[in-house]
């Protein structure tokens, strides 16, 4: 919860900065899509998904270029490898640059970003019994940090006068080798597709942004 408050504090600071210099802030928005796929992944062992993400687009000096600032909070559990229950709680701060093609009704963009993540992992061994009863044993909690870099491209669509939906495809590489190398999820980057310190991940998401200044 402290992490959530921290993320909200940072988001509100960014928002207040944006209000004080409205000429620089192009848009603010939220990313609500991440929660949806996890709701349908119960058979894959995912439980209690909660993702809160905010995004701010700041106008850069050159036209059609923006600084991309986002922060988020993640809380999700997973039963993995038929032996470990893991709950990952954490947050991230992401900063990048975005290049827009135009300001038309459908606008294509691409960019890059780097993120720093922090996470706390609670886990337990849980081995299902067949002939004997199930076995569970607690494991030590641990916390750590990770970094990731990503490339993204997408399109945004005008939904209402100042409201735009941004469909975004992202591909990220990162490492969580500081303290929490075995977490199945790295906030800001995504699900680890293999159990190595270096991860490749990615996905599609949908952001909803409110345009403050044209």
């Amino acid at each position: 919860m402290k992490k959530l408050l921290c993320v909200l504090f940072i988001a509100s600071t960014v928002a207040s900065y944006g209000q004080s210099d409205s000429s620089r802030v192009k848009a603010i928005g939220i990313d609500f899509f991440k929660n949806i796929p996890f709701l349908f992944l119960r058979s894959e062992g995912y439980r209690r998904p909660l993702f809160l993400d905010g995004v701010v687009l700041l106008r850069a000096q050159r036209p059609f270029r923006y600084y991309h600032l986002s922060a988020g909070y993640a809380d999700v559990s997973n039963y993995r490898e038929q032996r470990i229950w893991q709950n990952v709680q954490g947050g991230y701060l992401k900063f990048g640059k975005e290049f827009n093609k135009s300001l038309s009704l459908t606008n294509f963009f691409w960019g890059y970003a780097g993120a720093i993540s922090w996470l706390q992992v609670q886990s337990k061994l849980a081995i299902k019994g067949n002939i004997f009863e199930d076995y569970t044993a607690p494991l030590p909690d641990y916390s750590g940090m990770g970094i990731s870099a990503e490339l993204f491209l997408g399109a945004d669509f005008r939904v209402a006068k100042r409201l735009r939906a941004r469909l975004l495809w992202r591909s990220a590489a990162g490492t969580s080798n500081v303290g929490a190398p075995n977490a199945f999820y790295l906030p800001g980057a995504g699900i680890r597709i293999w159990n190595e310190p270096f991860i490749l991940t990615g996905g599609i998401t949908l952001q909803c942004v409110y345009v403050l200044a044209k």
Binding site: E81, Q82, R83, I84, S123, L125, I127, K128, G129, N130, I131, F132, E133, Y135, A137, L139, P140, N177, P181, N182, W194, N195, E196, P197
Partner: protein
Amino acid sequence: MKRFYLVFMLWGSMSLYGCETCGVTSEPTLTVATTNGTPMNTTKVRAIGTTKEIVAQTAFSASTVLTLPINLNANSTTYILEQPTRQDTLTVFYKKRIYNVSTKCGYILDLIEPDSGPQIKSTFKAVDIRYDRYYNKVTGLSGGLGGEGIIILIKDL
């Protein structure tokens, strides 16, 4: 071409690095075998504390090797091996070890020999026990260590 070899070597190294079995990942089993290869003529195997009956994958009576489940909620498992004319008991002792083995596996569960006390008790005339790890890691092309689990050898019925 040099670049191709470099990529190939890197890929090969990563493939070998990935060959790791992360200890106990389902209800573990142990192996019971006779050293001279004669069938044990076992008609039924029971274990104390089970929630289900142990069902043989192949007929117990024809087997020279039995694969039996281990109770993780205790530090020993007792089996009762029924034969047409006799009944034998076999109690296996072990210790559960949970430790952080590698970046890939993280914390794992393995079964090792107990620190003190007996390792095995049996009504068979002569038995031997070997504790191999359930965790296994391939350490290059020559193979690796562990992965076979607990093995019981019945030397004399």
